[in-house]
């Protein structure tokens, strides 16, 4: 494993962190965030606890992800001439749905998100 550089940031502004999102300062070996969600946009202000919307009912949540084949093994030689990555300021509105925002090295990330939007109209 190649030696990782130090990440140095002066100022970070982050507004929101939601739905299996990660914001990390420091080094990580592995991250495996997963998120699934259904956003229902509905006509008319009629809301009940149960809208009859379930993950199992939709094909999107059953389909197999098209993961790439494992990479061909190769020999890589990395030479860090400066061991610090500097970023002055980061302004971010939000991190959501299995997203990752990290300051520091990270070996591996396997993440998966499934989001379904739908609109429900009233009958005329």
């Amino acid at each position: 494993m190649v030696k990782k550089r130090t990440a140095l940031t002066e100022k970070i502004s982050l507004n929101g962190l939601t739905y299996s999102a990660v914001f990390n300062i420091g080094d990580t070996k592995m991250s495996n965030p997963q998120s699934r969600g259904i956003a229902v946009q509905k006509e008319g202000a009629s809301f009940q606890g149960d809208d009859g919307v379930f993950f199992d009912k939709y094909e999107l949540f059953h389909q197999k992800a098209n993961w790439p084949k494992p990479a061909v093994s190769m020999h890589k030689n990395t030479c860090h001439h400066n061991d610090t990555i500097r970023v002055n300021r980061v302004d971010m509105t939000g991190v959501s749905q299995a997203g990752v925002f990290q300051v520091g090295s990270i070996d591996q990330v396997f993440s998966e998100a499934r989001i379904k939007h739908m609109r429900k109209y009233l009958n005329d």
């Binding site: 190649v2 999102a21 990555i85 990270i106 379904k116 109209y121």
Partner: protein, 57 residues
């Protein structure tokens, strides 16, 4: 296959990002491997008509 990488230096001033979402990564640092998958389904394909009982009157 052989590959040689030289990281001479990396200095960035200001970064402004809207949102990092649906299995995306914003990283300040080094990494080895990322495998990210995202499924997204949105109207008009996802439009459902006539499944809601209208309010009376």
């Amino acid at each position: 296959m052989n590959m040689e990488v030289h990281n001479w230096g990396l200095e960035v001033d200001n970064v402004a990002v809207g949102t990092v979402t649906a299995s995306s990564v914003f990283l300040i640092g080094d990494n080895d491997a990322f495998v990210l998958s995202s499924f997204y389904d949105t109207p008009p394909e996802a439009t459902a008509i006539g499944t809601i009982v209208p309010l009376s009157g």
